[in-house]
């Protein structure tokens, strides 16, 4: 026996492929000499395979669509996109906090990041009236666990969840939904 016994957490790391190669090799070697640890590893591997079976047997629900203007695919305009994104999101939420009428959105409304569940009362807006106050707003929104998505990737920064009074059916739409 060339090693201490395997902790389930280590077996999980191994199964997920997140273990350093030497550690993984040592773990493998141990399971060849220790039946109980081989069983721990098998159990972990079995769970991983079962999770995949669960996922494959579960019909994915219609996904919320993230609407992106085509321009977002052009990296050169990313910075502009961010500016517009922030401005538009702010404007939208400020102007229409609980408006149900799907009137045409602003030109560059950047994103419809749908909240996990619709708020029971109208969103108390984390108001960001202009870009100069964004930092403060960001901190405030962050404290509430909101995230923001940026055109070229995702940052750990707040999102102004534009709960924009979406018409019914948008969430179930198969493709991008034209407002």
């Amino acid at each position: 026996m060339n090693q201490r016994h395997i902790h389930p957490a280590e077996a999980e790391l191994y199964v997920l492929g997140e273990m350093e190669p030497e550690a993984a090799a040592a773990l493998e070697a141990h399971t060849l000499e220790c039946a109980p640890c081989a069983a721990v590893l098998q159990r972990e591997a079995l769970l991983e395979e079962q999770l995949r079976e669960v996922a494959q047997a579960t019909v994915p629900e219609p996904q919320p669509q993230v609407l992106r203007p085509a321009r977002w695919s052009r990296p050169a305009r990313a910075a502009v996109g961010v500016l517009l994104a922030a401005a538009a999101a702010v404007a939208l939420v400020l102007l229409r906090p609980e408006q149900a009428d799907p009137s045409p959105p602003q030109n560059d409304f950047p994103i419809l990041a749908l909240p996990e569940s619709l708020p029971e009362e109208p969103l108390r807006l984390v108001a960001c009236p202009d870009l100069s106050s964004q930092e403060a707003c960001a901190a405030q929104a962050f404290a509430r666990g909101l995230m923001v998505q940026y055109p070229q990737g995702v940052g750990e920064v707040p999102r102004y969840d534009g709960h924009a009074g979406l018409p019914p059916g948008v969430l179930e739409a198969d493709g991008p939904y034209s407002l």
Partner: protein, 213 residues
């Protein structure tokens, strides 16, 4: 106003780089790699093998194969797939599922052979001594019982929509890297890992729960 905006952008760029690294140059190259492998490109095969070998080994471990033998069977699996490609028998290359299926077949085949030999020999040599689960019994059938599946799905339906979506993206068999999942749902890689870990934990207790008597 500049400072506040520069920060998120920098983060975004860094994460793009990270995601590009961890998925080996983009998801699109997956299809291209498979195509090149189908045309016999050895480096494409090597890249695919490096990417999926561990998954194949884990799938064998789940079926009760010893880890040393699991590595050997996984190697043999790749060798056979390359052979089939060279003979023109492979029309499409859907990985890792094709490799996992091939490996399960090899494991089942071997277990059957061993059992025949063991039955002819002494009782102490029964392969079950080395195999907590008999691979020949489990290779063809699913690893989940119906009860486990419905318990797991009930648990899954209690998770948040986004957690459910992340789990399905990460585990539906396409092996989407975490960075790619993160990009699709608009969260950080770290957050995606956290969520996956939580869902795993919940599903684990649902799967391991003893069936009600």
């Amino acid at each position: 106003m500049g400072a506040a905006l520069v920060q998120p952008l920098r983060i975004a760029v860094r994460q793009e780089e990270e995601s590009a690294r961890s998925r080996g140059g983009g998801r699109e190259d997956e299809a291209e790699l498979a195509q090149r492998a189908l045309e016999g490109d050895r480096t494409a095969w090597d890249a695919l093998i490096a990417r999926y070998h561990h998954r194949v080994v884990v799938s064998l471990l789940a079926r009760g194969v010893r880890v040393d033998r699991a590595h050997e069977l996984a190697q043999e699996t790749w060798a056979r797939l390359v052979q089939q490609q060279q003979k023109g028998l492979l029309r499409e290359l859907r990985l890792p599922s094709l490799a996992i299926t091939q490996a399960a077949y090899l494991a089942a085949d071997e277990a059957r052979r061993q059992r025949r030999e063991a039955l002819a020999g002494s009782v102490e040599e029964l392969p079950e001594a080395h195999h907590p689960v008999d691979p020949s019994a489990s290779a063809e059938r699913r690893l989940l019982s119906e009860e486990q599946l419905s318990r797991a799905q009930a648990t899954l339906s209690q998770c948040s929509t986004s957690a459910r979506r992340i789990f399905l993206l990460a585990c539906d068999g396409q092996e989407l890297p975490h960075a790619e999942v993160a990009a699709r749902v608009g969260l950080s890689v770290q957050r995606v890992r956290q969520i996956l870990c939580e869902v795993r934990k919940k599903l684990r207790s649902a799967l391991e729960e003893e069936a009600a008597p």
